[in-house]
């Protein structure tokens, strides 16, 4: 067995009492004080997450236009139109229109900084490199940690280290001096809350984390609460809610495909699976990702089958992720179901431990998003 890798904050996690688990090949804390209090702390104050396991890459070339053009041949979003210092959500697609991985893209001058999922990063990097034209190169950033500071008090917390934090808007990306070193900071996250993601050189990761944790409203948050927070926020988890068999249209991610990349747009298509995704944009596919609220108190997790009614024989879909939502104080779930049943308010049944229990299709997010637009 290969040993799991450790992030630059591993010793700090242990010192803070984090319960360490293996995740995507890394040893990371699943919790410190407990998933429930950590979740609530992030929604009401500010939580600090170590997301250094995620892949960080920089794509460079002779010009931003060349870099954008190369990446647009793999990613169906408007990259050429990204203003300097702005970030956007996107995904790599395959020839069947499925999602190879979802990612964040930030324009930093003439280069594009990408953050990809830990479990996909090796495959992503190989895939992208194999398709880049001469002169455009992808470099994996292996000497920087990635921290996320999330919650309604994240701005106040980061502003104590650098007041420039206050001037950023949602999805802005800047270079910012923090703990005496230049960090790459974006105003974004994976919790549904306002907050920042901070790429910091390995050696300064712990001093920066300690400086933030020394603030009274900042607490360390583990992977457990990261999952319950993103679930309440209606955000997809790759490998669960979306994967290489889910198209962006089925996944409800068409908002991320700007007009310019859709059929009829100036830079339509030209990425893997463009014909399939283009056709689905006009004529929606059979399946749709939806939010589900179990009517009762029992949490429903990945794999639970969904039926149109209590005595239906054939399932119409399944839960792709679910659990208890600490902020909404009830179970919440996402499911991939037959589009004919996807309207919010539709009453369905879920089969849990042999019993058919009522669930209702619900709009997402389950909590109002709290971004600083």
């Amino acid at each position: 067995m290969d040993e799991n890798r450790k992030t630059p904050l591993f010793d700090l996690h242990v010192a803070l009492g984090g319960k360490i688990v293996g995740f995507a090949g890394y040893d990371l804390p699943v919790q410190y004080m407990g998933v429930l209090p950590e979740h609530l702390h992030t929604r009401t104050k500010a939580g600090l997450f170590d997301v250094s396991h995620m892949g960080q890459c920089v794509v460079t070339g002779p010009s931003f236009e060349a870099v954008a053009q190369a990446l647009e041949s793999l990613i169906p979003v408007d990259i050429a139109g990204l203003a300097d210092g702005r970030q956007r959500y996107g995904f790599l697609t395959n020839d069947a229109g499925g999602i190879r991985d979802d990612l964040m893209l930030a324009r930093r001058g003439d280069s594009v900084f990408m953050v990809v999922n830990a479990a996909c990063k090796a495959a992503d990097i190989a895939h992208i490199r194999a398709h880049l034209p001469d002169g455009v190169t992808l470099t994996e950033v292996t000497d920087r940690a990635l921290l996320a500071l999330q919650g309604p008090l994240a701005e106040d917390a980061l502003a104590t280290l650098n007041s420039a934090a206050r001037t950023m808007r949602f999805m802005d990306v800047v270079d910012m001096e923090l703990a005496g070193v230049t960090c790459w900071v974006s105003r974004s996250g994976y919790t549904g809350e306002d907050g920042y993601e901070i790429s910091v050189p390995d050696a300064l990761a712990e001093p920066l984390a300690r400086a933030l944790l020394d603030l009274p409203d900042v607490a360390p948050i583990g992977l457990g609460a990261r999952d319950s927070l993103r679930l309440e926020a209606g955000l997809c988890l790759y490998g669960h809610d979306i994967d290489d068999t889910t198209t962006p249209v089925a996944a409800g991610l068409t908002w991320a495909i700007q007009k310019v990349r859709r059929p009829g747009g100036a830079r339509a298509g030209g990425y893997p699976g463009a014909d399939i995704i283009g056709a689905e944009l006009a004529d929606a596919p059979a399946m749709a990702r939806v939010g589900l609220l179990p009517d009762g108190r029992a949490p429903m997790r990945e794999g639970v089958q969904i039926f149109a009614c209590a005595d239906a024989q054939t399932p119409i879909g399944r839960i792709t992720s679910g659990g208890f939502g600490p902020t909404v104080q009830r179970p919440v779930a996402m499911a991939l179901i037959d589009r004919g049943f996807a309207a919010p308010g539709t009453a369905l049944c879920a089969e849990l431990r042999g019993k058919r229990l009522p669930v209702t299709v619900a709009a997402m997010p389950f909590i109002p998003a709290n971004f600083k637009r």
Binding site: V30, G34, V35, L36, R297, A298, F324, P326, P331
Partner: protein, 120 residues
Amino acid sequence: MLKFTEEHEWLRVEDDLVVVGITEHAATQLGDIVFVELPDEGTVVVKDDEAVVIESVKAASDILAPLSGEIVEVNTTLNDNPGLVNDDPIGDGWFFKMAVEDMSQLDEYLDEADYKKLIG
């Protein structure tokens, strides 16, 4: 008399019935409990049948019947307040009471001192 299973359940004999719950150690390990699915009163179980499902914020866990017998009463207060299992696992956080014909089934389980050794 309080007995313990290696699966971190406790059993207490009370008025000819056996009350069953999970230990503080188990409750701590599971984390915040958000849902407890109890068996129906009157269910006849065989030892090691699945009796209770506990959902914490992290995962679902099965609790097996530690004895063969009949479930005669369940702790319905857990339906509205599953957190009692964390707050008072050996008291108000009990799961069910069983009528057991053969009380000698209890003999195989650990006493408190041996259970404490088990969890170190």
